[in-house]
């Protein structure tokens, strides 16, 4: 039985380190000094102070504890991913049950992307149920007039005003299961606080039709036919195009999703770089 102090309770006693163990502390392993507790050169100190030397792990553990996520490795990408989700919010703030994309934030982002030297291409991901006509058209016009290559993917849905936004990219993809609803503005859309006439709504609709036909392979006649088709939608006139059908109508360039879209964007970036090179005489 080893000697024990009187006040010490019987049982197994751990050697306690001088600092409290913390998952945020990692021991420093020095290859020249293996962390052995009993270094004979250290007189009278059974515990090697090196054992408790450590450095904080940075934000990794905090992110894991707080958010349940592991930190991502930092990769500088030459493409920027822009997601357009939920309702495209325009001049009116929508009630909080809506997921919204705020156009007043997206538009300066596009300006920054056009200007940033390290960004060579933009990948736009759409899963939107439409929204404000003017906000949607504003985003679409900005994307269409960018000098950098842009590729869009419609995932889930790109309905109503999402259609011109999807077409605005240089090349567009639609997931096999994604859908696009094409319907007239005047039946389902509501004018809030604006004295509306049939002609006014017709003009708004013309803006959408002109943009879509100008930036995709669909003809105005086909697009209007899709818009006014009866018997397809339960509550409205119009059409739902799913994946391949949108490509067949010429609205979207190709069926595909992430892999194909990123490959296409890389290809477009290469082409635009080659185009900028001055040919040697």
């Amino acid at each position: 039985m080893p000697d024990r102090k009187k006040d010490e309770k019987p049982g197994i006693h751990m050697q306690s380190p001088e600092i409290d163990p913390d998952p945020a502390i990692v021991p420093e392993h020095n290859p020249d000094y293996p962390a052995e507790p009993g270094n004979p050169d250290d007189e009278g100190s059974p515990r090697n102070p090196r054992r408790v030397q450590g450095r904080p792990k940075g934000g990794g553990i905090e992110a894991l504890k707080e958010l349940g996520s592991t930190p991502l490795p930092e990769i500088k990408s030459n493409i920027h991913c822009l997601s357009i989700v939920g309702q495209i919010e325009g001049h009116l703030v929508l009630p909080p049950q809506n997921k919204t994309t705020k156009y007043e934030h997206i538009i300066p982002q596009l300006v920054a992307l056009e200007q940033a030297n390290e960004i060579e291409g933009v990948l736009m991901i759409l899963n939107t149920v439409g929204g404000d006509v003017e906000a949607g058209l504003a985003i679409a016009e900005m994307v269409a007039s960018m000098s950098k290559p842009t590729v869009s993917i419609v995932l889930g849905g790109g309905h109503s005003i999402g259609v011109p936004v999807a077409c605005s990219a240089d090349y567009s993809f639609i997931a096999e299961t994604a859908s696009m609803t094409i319907h007239p503005i005047r039946l389902n859309g509501l004018v809030i606080g604006v004295p509306q006439t049939y002609e006014y709504l017709d003009k708004m609709q013309d803006r959408v039709v002109r943009f879509v036909t100008g930036h995709s392979k669909v003809t105005a006649e086909d697009f209007r036919e899709l818009m006014f088709r009866t018997g397809e939608l339960a509550r409205d006139i119009g059409t739902v195009l799913i994946g391949k059908e949108a490509v067949e109508k010429g609205l979207i360039d190709e069926v595909g999703a992430l892999g194909q879209a990123v490959a296409k964007l890389k290809q477009l970036i290469e082409e635009s770089k080659r185009g900028k090179e001055v040919p040697l005489q």
Partner: protein
């Protein structure tokens, strides 16, 4: 404003009557001018950026809806200064 959406309008605009305009104030965090709304305990929610530098709009910390702890930010500033 015209909403062009296949979603039922009742669902989209439900509760629009009860919505009150947020009581915004203008502040400047890290050189970025923005409109914020107080959410209590020294934190603010970003309503929108007012900065004219397009680069600020790409900063993930200042996305609309993001909550910024300005109390902690001021502490950090005091410590470093």
């Amino acid at each position: 404003m015209i909403l062009y959406t296949p979603m039922q309008l009742e669902l989209v605009i439900d509760g629009i009557e009860e919505m009150r305009p947020p009581s915004c104030r203008e502040i400047c965090i890290g050189g970025v001018q923005m409109l914020v709304e107080d959410v209590g305990s020294g934190s603010v929610r970003v309503v929108k950026l007012l900065s004219t530098d397009p680069g600020h709009y790409l900063l993930p910390d200042y996305k609309p809806g993001n909550i910024i702890d300005i109390y902690r930010l001021s502490q950090v500033k005091c410590d470093s200064g």
